[in-house]
């Protein structure tokens, strides 16, 4: 069969998957209210296209993708938009994010769905369709999938990897998806195959999911020759075998360095659920408005549910019957997930699993000891990093050094912290260091722009001064000439001659006044184009917006729109 490769590191935590696979997938009840965050994928934040009070239908687009790396969002059910604003986000910070809040009307009425035969379409059109349907990576990274379906120009596609590994403990949604909807998964993968044109398609599934493997193998076989290059490959169970780079390594032997995209090495990777949603979007015209979520952990009935995006997590978890000592919700798996600070936070496209947290299930962390440089973490790191060095320098806030040790290659898989005998929250140190570095980069950029703007202003002021001086001189000269002319005229009109003595001092004074007037005029003239000379589009947009607001408020009528070079 296919020769498998090994990736270094990795760990084998107890999988805890059996609890939630006993029952089939069920559809979660409609919640009282749905809050759909606009920013659910990597890339630009979609712009809302509904307003409070609007009636929406199930699957109606409510957020317009902003740019190519962005993806549309849709109403998960029919109802009324009651708010477009900040709402608790599914984010470890517990902060709010722009969301569209919908009150369901209970009818769950679809918009008109338009299945297409994608094979007859241009690939570009298919990608546009995926973007409009909000298809994003459901494996966790929520990267807009259409952007991943473009092969590299120089490197021919060799393999398409379909990721059914599902390596994290507790999570079983992909497993159940493959068991119950294998055919649609395979067909969805077929779409990616047709866009990327790889030589073969490898569906990697961890060997602790025999039912899924069987179902997928059967589906591939059943679909016949059109899917001949598809192969279902069981891979050894070892966390994080499902990490895209690890799975690619295991299946193809290729190592994708952090400096490259996988397409540059002729391989691309999609999650099985992503494939499924792509198929639904194309073949049924259904945008991504729901997903499978495993509800497990400290609950009475662990199970997988088909859940509408926007369902509040606390409300959702209730249907699984959380036990009395439940004290929190982990979104995602226990290795990479995070505790949700606010149970009002909604299920989003990235929510594959909610684990009811209890102290019995996840005992509080023992106190952190100093690192003894034992190297266990380095042995466990699937990216072959030196976590203890990164930790040492993160702790000392020596961020330059952390980058020398390839901090940004860290995928935050948590293997290092899992094995650390000193129980150091290594991943959190890395996250801390990363966000500090990002923030510094932002600041640096701001400082650079401030500096150039400051220098530009100084330059301008200098130029103004020079111009002014020149004008002053000119004005003085003109004044003198005028005075001379006046003196000459005085002969003709002696009555006036008294008031205009050909006196130098007087001339200078006049010149000064003239210059002052001139200066005021010049200043006025400048006031408008002044600092609006080199605006970026965003600033321009901001200014436009301000102007618009101002116009709305009726503050100033008839404002000249600032004249700017609309570059870019």
């Amino acid at each position: 069969m296919l020769q498998l490769f090994k990736f270094k590191g990795g760990v084998k935590p107890a999988t805890n998957k059996t609890q939630s696979v006993t029952l089939p997938i069920a559809v979660a009840p409609l919640p009282s209210r749905l809050a759909v965050p606009l920013h659910q994928s990597i890339g630009g934040t979609p712009r809302p296209i509904v307003q409070p009070g609007d009636k929406v239908l199930k699957g109606q687009k409510i957020g317009e993708a902003d740019g190519w790396i962005s993806s549309a969002v849709h109403a998960p059910t029919s109802g009324t938009v009651i708010e477009v604003g900040l709402y608790p986000a599914a984010h470890p910070s517990g902060l709010t994010a722009p969301s569209v809040v919908i009150e369901p009307d209970g009818e769950d009425r679809w918009i008109e769905r338009q299945p297409v035969d994608y094979k007859s379409l241009e690939p570009e059109t298919v990608r546009e369709l995926l973007r409009e349907a909000g298809v994003v990576g459901l494996g966790g990274a929520v990267f807009p999938s259409h952007a991943k379906t473009q092969a590299s120009k120089s490197v021919p596609m060799e393999e398409l990897v379909i990721n059914g590994a599902e390596c994290e403990p507790y999570i079983t949604c992909d497993d159940l998806l493959m068991r119950e909807r294998a055919e649609e998964v395979v067909r969805g993968a077929g779409i990616f195959r047709d866009l990327l044109k790889p030589k073969r398609v490898l569906i990697g599934i961890e060997d602790n999911k025999p039912e899924a493997i069987t179902a997928m193998t059967a589906a591939v076989k059943a679909l016949g020759s059109e899917f001949a290059e598809f192969q279902v490959v069981p891979v050894p169970t070892r966390y994080p075998a499902g990490g895209a780079k690890q799975l690619i390594r295991v299946l193809t032997g290729k190592e994708v360095p952090s400096s490259k995209r996988s397409t540059d090495m002729g391989v691309q990777c999609f999650n099985v659920a992503t494939a499924y949603t792509a198929w639904r979007a194309v073949a049924h015209g259904e945008p991504v408005i729901s997903r499978l979520v495993t509800l497990t952990g400290n609950v009475g009935e662990p199970r997988n549910w088909e859940v509408l995006i926007g369902t509040p997590m606390g409300e959702l978890l209730h249907i699984a019957g959380p036990k009395a000592d439940t004290d929190g919700i982990i979104m995602g798996g226990p290795m990479m997930g995070f505790l949700v600070p606010d149970p009002k936070a909604p299920v989003v496209k990235a929510t594959n699993c909610l684990i009811a947290h209890s102290p019995a299930l996840f005992p509080p962390k023992p106190p952190e000891m100093p690192c003894i440089r034992c190297g266990s973490c380095a042995q466990a790191c699937p990216h072959e990093l030196q976590p203890f060095e990164m930790y040492w320098f993160s702790r000392a806030k020596n961020f330059g050094k952390t980058q020398e040790y390839a901090l940004f290659d860290c995928i935050e898989c948590g293997c290092c912290a899992f094995v650390c005998p000193s129980r150091i929250p290594l991943v959190q140190y890395f996250r801390f260091a990363k966000s500090e570095i990002w923030s510094r980069e932002r600041e640096k950029k701001a400082a650079d722009s401030a500096k150039s703007r400051f220098e530009f202003k100084q330059l301008r002021e200098e130029r103004d001064k020079a111009e002014k001086a020149e004008k002053l001189a000119k004005a003085a000269a003109a004044q003198a000439a005028k005075a001379a002319a006046a003196a000459a005229g005085a002969a003709n009109a002696p009555a006036e001659a008294v008031t205009v003595p050909a006196d130098d001092a007087e001339a200078a004074k006049k010149a000064a006044i003239a210059a002052a007037l001139e200066r005021a005029r010049a200043q006025r003239a400048q006031a408008e184009p002044r600092n609006t000379e080199q605006l970026t589009p965003e600033q321009q947009a901001q200014i436009d917006e301000i102007e618009a607001r101002r116009a709305q408020a009726g503050a100033t009528a008839a404002v000249e729109p600032p004249e700017t070079g609309k570059n870019s």
Binding site: S258, P334, K365, P367, M369, L385, D409, V419, P421
Partner: protein
């Protein structure tokens, strides 16, 4: 509840468990030690352990750190045991105490305690002591000494008499060769089995084998990796072998050097101290090979009876640079 972050699962592992394994692994060697040289070493182990724990507790208290948590990590006990095992068992009690104090207070706690010291504390204790008290630190009891007399010497109740002590086989060989000048012959010297036993000193060879046994168990338990012991011993064997083949009369065999002195203890327990050794695989090889080489050079050509302590300390100095320049390529960058 705490909003700690992922991963929420942790493996069963702790520093305490690691240190406990190291202590356990020392037991075979200690047993052989007691068997051949009497229980004096146990007295020293006790002294050193008590001193180490007391010093650690006081320093932690002064620095405002949780005392019991850190005492329970047992790293101070490992340090103490290694001090006791590298010191002659009949050094006066105050020297053991002073050496241990120096190790814990200056070499460890001044750097922030566990995990942060750049130098191996136990070896610092050894180096400080041998530099300050070379006579006391190079007198060892012969095999089968009289325990009561040794006790009296340790606690200063009786003067140290010549009969009680002798140089270690390593030291004795070196002195013999040095004095013998051109006539010296290793084979001739080593023929004296009462001192030199079968290969590397009566009793010493068995103690070394005990350490080897414990060390192999540590490797099997994944407390240490194979790199350091292998490279350390291989380096000693290589240079000893080369010189021995060249001039068998002037240089002892590799086997002698592997089993004599602190080579085995150093290879498995001292050079492997995770805190102060290099950490990358290639770095570990360089570190240990350097330490092995220096051990040989110092014990054969240098001024001290054995070179393990200084060799390890000298390589400790190099660790930051070794680590820096032997970073393994990260995922995807191999061969680039």
């Amino acid at each position: 509840m705490d909003f700690s972050t992922s991963p929420y699962l942790l493996k069963e592992a702790s520093v305490q468990r690691v240190m406990l394994k190291v202590l356990t692994a020392l037991l075979p060697g200690i047993t052989a030690y007691v068997w051949f040289f009497g229980p004096a070493v146990l007295v020293q182990i006790g002294l050193a352990t008590a001193t180490a724990l007391a010093a650690e507790a006081v320093m932690l208290k002064v620095r405002g750190k949780p005392v019991t948590m850190f005492l329970a990590d047992l790293s101070a006990v490992v340090t103490a045991w290694l001090i006791a095992l590298t010191f002659p068992p009949i050094v006066p009690w105050w020297l053991t105490v002073a050496g241990t104090l120096f190790a814990i207070v200056i070499a460890k706690q001044l750097y922030g305690g566990l995990g942060q010291n750049p130098f191996n504390p136990a070896m610092i204790a050894f180096a400080v002591s041998i530099v300050s008290f070379p006579a006391l630190m190079s007198q060892w009891p012969g095999a089968g000494g009289d325990f009561a007399a040794q006790l009296q010497v340790i606690f200063g109740l009786a003067p140290r008499v010549d009969g009680l002590t002798s140089a270690t086989p390593l030291d004795a060989l070196k002195t013999a060769l040095k004095l013998g000048g051109e006539h010296a012959n290793v084979a001739g010297v080593l023929a004296d089995g009462t001192v030199y036993g079968l290969v590397a000193g009566r009793g010493w060879e068995w103690v070394s084998l005990g350490y080897l046994l414990g060390g192999l168990w540590l490797v099997q338990q994944r407390v240490i990796t194979w790199h350091i012991p292998t490279a350390f011993l291989a380096a000693i064997a290589a240079i000893a072998g080369a010189l021995w083949l060249w001039q068998p009369a002037a240089f002892a065999s590799p086997l002698f050097h592997l089993l004599a002195g602190g080579a085995m203890l150093g290879a498995f327990f001292i050079a492997t101290d995770p805190v102060t050794a290099a950490t990358t695989p290639r770095g570990k090889l360089i570190f240990a090979a350097g330490a092995g080489l220096l051990t040989y050079l110092i014990r054969v050509f240098g001024g001290y009876p054995d070179g393990v302590a200084f060799a390890v300390l000298l390589m400790n100095i190099c660790v930051p640079l070794i680590d820096m320049y032997t970073q393994p390529p990260v995922f995807g960058m191999r061969g680039k």
